[in-house]
């Protein structure tokens, strides 16, 4: 059996893993290994062939593959090894990884530090308990995207999309451009969680109707899907009898939520937050297990890959610091979600952060003319006004590092003040 040691082992060569590796190398860590289960690096960006990536980081609008290539090129420049076709099977709390690949067989690797960057998966039909037949033609939007953009096959001809988050909207456009007919996009909430730009450029551009406050109530078709029934829902998201609409279609794409993939993290004993389904981390992105860090969609589901890269640069830097000085600073502050806020990351902050701390969270509702307020021990630390806070856009608040030594309490609360407005 092959046993190996590396200073830094990174699980995943998507945008998170690549950025973390780059920053760790720039901090001087030589011994780095990235393990990737697909045959090529790039992660989910490989199949995101639409544009809109990199506006913040590169001030350009790139497609997913182009954004990924920037980091892949830098990784090659820096000579950081990426082993593709390699699946990590387990991560232990002692930072021992087991992995397997056809070319190198089974290996056990001891790491000085580990960065978890495995990304997320999509919620399947079972999570929705949608009744009906279990026919072919029902896909998560991401699986359909893979078939179209990486395998070169169309999953169907007449499509309904359940879920108006960005992935559903993107696939509405993709299927239409590539020659299918998209009949409708169905959204259970009274608002879409997707960017308004995507509503316009993916639905309105193609005359695809958006049914808000509706859901799929039944699936029809013995062998292959032949239709679906949707109905309006009430404020408790219960279907209202008599409001049913039937669509003849052969494809149903589900875009109903992303779940960070933390099975490996759980195996390592990493504490997982039920609010984000990702690890509980400190401001340096270290998990509850010393020397194991986490970044990207596995930590919490992002909207912008630029934020993923930013977060991952931090994780790489922190992992590098840990390798040079393996100490686990106890966090002083606990970060709590107040009204209107869900899943703030990081959940803990050390007593004296070395850098400004970025708090990221999702608003739990749509708020207009609102302010995000950060408080500690009765003292308001930050107030950031915005015209809109919406669940579809992760909010970012930056706390200057100097502020932490002035705080008297141990709990930092983030909340939103403003009118809830679904209009």
């Amino acid at each position: 059996m092959n046993n190996q040691y590396v200073d830094l082992l990174i699980v995943g060569a998507g945008p998170a893993g690549l950025a973390a590796a780059i920053s760790a190398r720039e901090e001087g860590i030589e011994s780095i290994l990235i393990l990737e289960r697909e045959q090529e690096p790039g992660g989910i960006l490989r199949q995101c062939i639409h544009n809109g990536f990199g506006l913040h980081r590169f001030h350009e609008e790139l497609t997913g593959p182009e954004y990924a290539q920037r980091d892949i090129d830098r990784i090659r420049e820096l000579n950081i090894p990426v082993e593709c076709g390699t699946t990590v099977l387990s991560v232990s709390d002692q930072r021992v990884i087991t992995c397997v690949s056809a070319s190198k067989g089974f290996r056990r690797i001891q790491a000085g530090a580990v960065i978890l960057a495995m990304g997320c998966r999509e919620r399947p039909r079972g999570a929705l308990c949608t009744p009906g037949t279990r026919c072919a033609g029902i896909y998560s939007a991401g699986t359909a995207q893979r078939f179209v953009n990486l395998e070169g096959f169309m999953p169907g001809k007449r499509v309904v999309i359940l879920g108006s988050g960005d992935i559903g909207l993107i696939m509405a456009r993709r299927m239409t451009l590539q020659g299918a007919k998209v009949l409708a996009c169905v959204e259970i909430m009274p608002y879409s969680s997707g960017l308004n730009r995507n509503i316009v450029q993916c639905l309105e551009d193609y005359g695809i109707p958006l049914y808000l406050q509706h859901t799929v109530t039944e699936i029809h078709g013995r062998e292959r899907l032949d239709g679906i029934t949707i109905a309006q829902v009430d404020n408790k998201r219960i279907p209202i009898p008599g409001t049913e609409i039937h669509f003849d279609c052969d494809t149903l794409l589900l875009s109903c939520g992303l779940i960070p993939e933390n099975e490996l993290s759980q195996g390592a004993g990493v504490e997982i937050s039920p609010l984000t389904s990702g690890p509980v981390v400190s401001d340096n992105l270290e998990t509850s297990v010393p020397g194991i860090f986490s970044c990207g969609n596995v930590l919490h589901v992002h909207d912008l890959v630029d934020h993923v890269s930013n977060e991952s640069f931090k994780a790489g830097k922190a992992a590098a610091a840990f390798i040079c000085n393996p100490s686990h600073a106890e966090a002083r502050f606990a970060v709590c979600d107040g009204t209107g806020v869900r899943g703030t990351v990081p959940q803990r902050i050390s007593a004296a952060p070395q850098e400004d701390v970025q708090l990221m969270f999702r608003p739990s509702d749509v708020f207009r003319n609102a302010a995000a307020v950060v408080e500690c021990g009765g003292q308001e630390i930050l107030r950031k006004k915005a015209m809109i806070y919406t669940p579809g856009e992760m909010a970012v608040l930056t706390l200057k590092k100097e502020v932490f030594s002035t705080l008297s309490g141990d709990t930092i609360t983030v909340r939103i003040e403003g009118e809830k407005n679904n209009g």
Binding site: F106, P124, T143, F153, G156, G179, G207
Partner: protein, 488 residues
């Protein structure tokens, strides 16, 4: 045009168990099924319980076969490398009437020869299964109750039967049967025909229809649908045993049970439906299951639900199996009305029915019988050392296809190359578990489809989910770009 000695219609747990037993005799055997794969009926959509045998009425065929079948199960699964675990069961009672029922079941069980039955007090039951409803009055402890993977058993039985010469004809539905000089001639809807000396009906929910084609004594069958929730695996499940409620006229009721693969199963309800092939789930049915499951498990949460499914029970008005020669039809046998405890009974039904058929045909036992080779330990269950050895001997063990269930490329290919191998996404799924995990095939189905295409030569665009018209894909980019139109 096929000609055989024994035609078995139905490749579910009963048909495959029978085929495997008959394959030990010198005779040509053909198993026919409407499905594109074997075991596509109730066998793939039931609770997976090997019942101890307390429930069946003493003297009934159900009692006879359940107890004998359950006794054969452990060694059968061991020899065929099929997952099986004796996890035990409780039947819970809530009031004095229920406790009376539990005593009736205890006595019934003892007269059927079931070992180890005893009544537990409320406190004892709660101590052993703390997630139970604290309102229970007591429970019947059934240590002999077990769980199994029913379709994996059917696949293994079929493989062993195939290794011993049994042929399988799939995707064909019998629409007409006529007596001939030599026996029978069965015709299918696709224009195929099979001539045979002996006809055996193991056709599940089509059992009565098929019976009525050959017997002068028609039967009526009720199709009783049951729906399920399947919850995600977890390091610790709320229950370690199968938990039953008191049985009623409609059946054993909604149970909460671990599965042999570590999931949690809730269901089934019972609803009589007109169409024997209507395995849709319904919102009323699923609500019914959840409400009833909550009686056992007040903390029941479907937050971790990964899929729902339903199966159809083949129920005869006699409330019993019908096994043996067909009344009023020579050279014809049947094993129908195989609802619960049909799975538990299958090894015994297969054995005894094969003996009846062999006797009637004066078949000779073969001198040598091929045993199914031991299946390799699934990669997801292997130790590190075993994994290392596996990849060294076959690099395809190094390519993980299904990350949720940790299924390798080697195993996907094996599933396709088996004697009765997979040709569809669901066929691979049921033989390997690829696609049965959290993401329900979201990540692995493109790769599985590709491997099926490589192994079988079926073009990717023609790969199906489970046969017939259940195509995964509807065409290439090129065909759509040239023919398609963009909405304005």
């Amino acid at each position: 045009m096929f000609d055989t000695d024994i035609l078995i219609v139905g490749s579910g747990i009963t048909g495959t168990a029978l085929a495997r037993e008959l394959s030990r005799y010198d005779a040509r055997i053909l198993v026919l099924d409407r499905g594109s794969d074997i075991a596509e009926g109730a066998t793939k959509a039931n609770s997976g319980i090997v019942h101890a045998g307390y429930d069946a009425v003493p003297g009934s065929l159900k009692a006879h076969y359940n107890v004998r079948g359950a006794a054969l199960f452990s060694s059968l699964c061991e020899s065929l490398s099929v997952p099986y675990r004796k996890c035990g069961a409780f039947v819970i009672g809530f009031d004095a009437k229920d406790l009376d029922t539990l005593y009736v079941l205890l006595q019934r069980g003892e007269s059927n020869g079931v070992k180890g039955l005893r009544i537990l007090s409320r406190d004892e039951a709660l101590r052993l299964e703390p997630s139970l409803n604290p309102d229970i009055a007591g429970a019947l402890d059934v240590p002999e109750s077990a769980i199994v993977s029913p379709y994996e058993l059917a696949f293994a039985l079929a493989d062993e039967a195939a290794l011993n010469g049994v042929s399988f004809l799939l995707g064909q539905t019998v629409t007409a049967v006529e007596k001939t000089g030599e026996g029978w001639l069965a015709r299918t809807g696709k224009g195929e025909s099979v001539s045979c000396k002996v006809f055996v009906n193991c056709a599940g929910s089509s059992g009565a229809d098929l019976h009525n084609l050959i017997s002068d004594f028609p039967l009526h069958m009720t199709h009783r649908r049951g729906q399920y929730y399947l919850l995600d695996r977890a390091p610790v499940l709320p229950f370690s045993r199968t938990i039953f409620q008191c049985p009623s006229v409609m059946g054993k009721g909604v149970l909460v049970s671990p599965t042999v693969h570590g999931n949690l199963l809730l269901g089934p309800n019972a609803e009589d439906i007109p169409d024997p092939l209507d395995t849709a789930t319904t919102s009323e049915g699923l609500s019914d299951v959840l409400e009833k499951a909550r009686r056992t498990w007040p903390g029941a949460s479907i937050r971790t639900n990964i899929t729902n499914f339903s199966g159809i029970r083949a129920h005869l008005s006699t409330d019993d199996f019908l096994v043996g020669p067909v009344s009023g039809a020579a050279n014809a046998f049947e094993a129908i009305g195989i609802e619960s405890p049909g799975l538990s009974s299958a090894p015994a039904v297969g054995l005894e029915l094969s003996e009846m058929i062999a006797a009637s045909m004066s078949l000779k036992r073969k001198n040598a019988v091929v045993s199914l080779p031991r299946r390799p330990v699934p990669f997801h269950e292997m130790t590190d050392e075993q994994r290392n050895a596996a990849v060294e001997s076959n690099p395809e063990y190094g390519n993980i296809v299904c990350r949720c269930e940790c299924v390798t490329e080697a195993e996907v290919r094996q599933a396709i190359r088996r004697p009765v191998g997979a040709k569809t996404i669901d066929g691979v799924k049921r033989r390997t578990r690829a696609g049965m995990g959290r993401c329900q095939g979201g990540f692995c189905s493109p790769r599985v489809a590709q491997i099926i295409s490589e192994e079988t030569g079926i073009p990717l665009a023609q790969i199906t989910k489970d046969g017939g018209d259940s195509y995964l894909l509807s065409g290439t980019l090129a065909s759509f770009l040239k023919g398609g139109s963009v909405n304005e």
